[in-house]
Amino acid sequence: MPFKKLVGWFKNIFGGRKIIRLGLYGPPNAGKTTLANTISMDWTGEPVGKVSEIPHETREVQKKEKIIVRTKNKVIEMNLLDMPGIATKVDYQEFVDHGMSIEDAQQRAKEATKGVIEAIKWLEHVDTALIVMDSTRDPYTQVNITIIGNLEARNIPIIIVSNKIDLEDATPGRIKDAFPQHHVIEISALKGKHMGELYEAIAEHSR
């Protein structure tokens, strides 16, 4: 083992460990909160937030601090930041279509717009980002491209999470084809599938 690696290993085991701010980004309904809950349940036994099929359920950044993840060769400590979904439109009619009252839908839309702004403002404060994409949908969207472009410009490590691979119409290969320059991990956050691979990738690529 080279000296530098050995020092790093000792530091990692005996202290001086950096706490990583891990941001979960993506469009609404990609499964960010489901993933945050799975990560948090795996290592702390507690969930992070409520999950819903109605878009924009997460309208404020939800934090879970001091999650210690142990992988094959590394122990990492992280603060998990589950971001509101980023979108270019928020139409209260969409919430009404999901059965909400007009008043509640308008309030939800107002909160959702603030959530999008908050998520964008956090882009410069995360150390590593997981970009969560729904593998049943077209990944090459402007929102995904904008998020990735921002993180690349800030030199923040990115791991693309191709979520919902348990669904019949999932085509995770499209995500790899769309973003060949990035690490793509295929998972099902709901079923806990391939989470070990994701933890290894976080440990390897975070800084």
Binding site: T88, Y140, T146
Partner: protein, 127 residues
Amino acid sequence: MTEKHKTKSKSGIELEFISSDILVSKNEDERIEYILDRVKKNKILIMEGSLSPMEESRLIEIDMTQISDEFPGIEFATLGEKEKGFREKIIHLLGGKTGGLTVVGPSRLVKRIKKDPKRIFLLASKK
């Protein structure tokens, strides 16, 4: 504007092609305000030049501040080099342009926008 023209724009969808010369003298927020002002008038803009990732996220941020019951937001797509090579950098330093395109429209009109690295597909409808 003639009466005939007014009637046409009420029943149809208005596209506006904008040269980069119009936007170049404005700062980032002025450019975005200019874009959103026109989009809120139910126009689909096709602009010469691409936006940087920072401009794209700023566009989303300002768009969010303007969302109301009547204006639920935008759809947009950009084409163009994100990573400029040496040739493009030199051209930009000399004040030249190396292409790129941005399409922005109100989400109530733009029903679908899809892009691949070289093309943008847009479906617009008033219904």
